[in-house]
Chain length 291, copies 2
Amino acid sequence: MSKTIAIIGLGLIGGSMAIALKDFEDCELLGVDVSQPTLRYAVEQGIVHRATDDPRAALEQADLIFLCMHPQGIISFLREHRDHFRPGSMVTDVCGVKGAILRAAECLPPEVSFLGGHPMAGTEFSGIQNAIPDMFRGAHYILTPNGQSSPEHIALMERIARHIGCADVVKTTPERHDAIIAYTSQMMHIIAVAVCDDQSLFEYQGFEGDSFRGCTRVAALDVPLWTQLFTLNGPALCAALEHLEDNLRAYRQAIQSGDRDTLVEKLAWSSARKRKMNRLEQESGAVGRQK
Amino acid sequence: MSKTIAIIGLGLIGGSMAIALKDFEDCELLGVDVSQPTLRYAVEQGIVHRATDDPRAALEQADLIFLCMHPQGIISFLREHRDHFRPGSMVTDVCGVKGAILRAAECLPPEVSFLGGHPMAGTEFSGIQNAIPDMFRGAHYILTPNGQSSPEHIALMERIARHIGCADVVKTTPERHDAIIAYTSQMMHIIAVAVCDDQSLFEYQGFEGDSFRGCTRVAALDVPLWTQLFTLNGPALCAALEHLEDNLRAYRQAIQSGDRDTLVEKLAWSSARKRKMNRLEQESGAVGRQK
């Protein structure tokens, strides 16, 4: 029997998820958004089979619900619609923080399965117009299963991750997810914006290389989204930033003091770690266009 | 009349320059290196027309000399071979710092033209085996002409920059180059290694996205090369790092204090600057695989 998958929030990630889910197990894709132009675009472009601005009508039909709004939008939606999910239905999300989402999902009735998810993909753009079919290719799909998650739901998400091209499925706890993501994703975004705060930024035009582009690409971020992500994971992010500040200062002091031996030693140590990480990543098969 | 171009130092950049110069104005390419396997590889792969480990023999024949060694190697070479360049010959380099190189080049006799250069290209790899034909595609080619540089030499370098696919030629002083490069290139490398210093780095495997990959790619750096670059530009680099530390701290404090309005305002300001920089860069046509 084919399933109905409702995608709530047809932005960059929701839209890309819909495109990537095309032909998944003969499912019907039902798009939900508050914006009429977005719904029209999604249907006209064949991104979803059907579209509606009525979440209750969608929840009545959906077997699997993808919550693809901004974090606070997901939290509000869970609270507002806790009694509108069909018994036996499966709910997942794509949010970049997991602790706050999992706490909000506790309000769901026991006959609804919730499985937190974070496909580690994204670009610095937003909106369905920027959705792309290979958004998730090579990405890690992180899941945070708990007592609320049915085995059927977990198996379904693993098939979905494979279908949309992810490199692997990584299972962890919400707490561990948030602690690590603070470092590997959120801190990268803070570095990018902090670099762009330099007063002479525009005088640097003509002197940018790929290291500058690679580091600052994500500075052109979606402000409401990242404000929510940073705020919902504040303590872990601030701890990560303090470590980075210490590590930067240690490099600066080695250069400032003219202590060449320490500088060589530090560079050799750090660069060897990066090369080791590259090897581990290559072995895992993960490569991506990822957040 | 066709020219002989000698490329001294057939590493990643020298090798890529030789490949990119293929068919440039019917020139003959003469490769010079201390390593016999490198010279053999360069000839066998057709990267240069001829190869030698004797720099004096090369300098006797060369009309244009590209110095593609590490910074200290270039400085020593200029001092050692100051009297071996042919009168009327043109000498350039590809080094990522310019002040120290230009000071060393002052030892050249007046009948030799010196023009400092920095094609802003590179990868995190090294050696001629990693040389690639499109290394310079879309890159900025920075030149630091001064009284030592002949107009003919400047015109030749502009034709070369076009031939190897650079987006543009940017002319500046060595001092301005070094001050800006400290920020747009060297600091990016310090950020990358500092991020990789985190004690839990390897536990993050499975949680990397493109922002992490983009920021840390260059951490797998060539230690002797970057030790020299950082050391030769220490004061400018340390000043850039201090600014970054301040900017990071300001972000951390906004998050730590729960001051959401300040966070939103800061993110809106920084991300708008990055979007503006993207527009400027798009207008300039520069895109790259660049350092």
